[in-house]
Subunit: 158 residues, 2 copies
């Protein structure tokens, strides 16, 4: 007979159960709103958007709103150190361009994303949805801040 | 008699046990090497150090090596947008100065730090040790990158 002491033996350890719960934490549960700029923006425009929106990563979209690139605070700081006129410098020159942008989907687990951010040494990723033409709509943003919030969340669970 | 089915009933749920393990993850187990600059550095020097060392947060120390301030990539980007000569602008003008710097110790739990980073909306903290004069030596650096690594670590545990 199964012992009845207020728990249930499933053959799984506590950490296995926990890991399953970790894998159930999805990007869609933690993502932030993406901040996008048009491809004809200048580096100066981009820096203004970054401060106005208080984000560390901007996504660059074409005239149809499809993802074409990504730019980080580090990219902008590097550009601002140059001798160029930032209002005349197009964002396209300094952004990381598709297909070199690492992306994720709303259904990815936060654990996968944390792994990607560490292994690729990047601060954030666009959450994308592929359209019928194989182009990407940007539907969210995931950064180390969201991972930190997920970490707080698991610690707060009782 | 206690049931013997390959586990041990402690009166704690799997998530309680897990939370205890979370709280055992200490700053000292995940911290990075701190990058410090002297207080007579210019903003230009600071930006160079940030790129050379590839960090997002620098700690400013006085002539005795004690913590007097902190500067982030965001602070430097803001400064670089101004009209000032970055080589003539002292770091002391733009840094966050003690006692307004949030610090932590090597024995703090990663969970506490994650909470601090989120609630104070900061990217990183110095790990400090108080000396006999009540001043701080900087012995480490904790950022959202370290939290992300801690998140990966708990996901990798079996």
């Amino acid at each position: 007979a199964r012992p009845r002491v207020g728990y249930y033996y499933t053959g799984k350890t506590g950490s296995q159960l926990f890991q399953e719960r970790l894998l159930k934490m999805k990007v869609k549960d933690f993502q932030s709103i993406p901040v996008v700029i048009p491809e004809n923006s200048s580096v100066y425009d981009a820096i203004c958007s970054m401060f106005l929106e208080d984000v560390g990563t901007l996504f660059v979209v074409n005239e149809n709103g499809k993802l074409i690139g990504i730019v980080s605070r580090k990219d902008l700081l590097r550009a601002s150190m140059g001798k160029q006129d930032l209002e005349a410098l197009p964002i396209g020159i300094i952004m990381t361009r598709m297909p070199n942008v690492t992306t994720c989907t709303a259904e990815d687990s936060m654990l996968e994303i944390a792994n990607k951010l560490i292994s690729k040494q990047i601060d954030g990723l666009p959450v994308v949805k592929k359209d019928d033409n194989g182009e990407y709509d940007v539907i969210g943003r995931i950064t180390k801040t969201n991972i930190t919030k997920a970490f707080v969340y698991i610690g707060a669970e009782e």
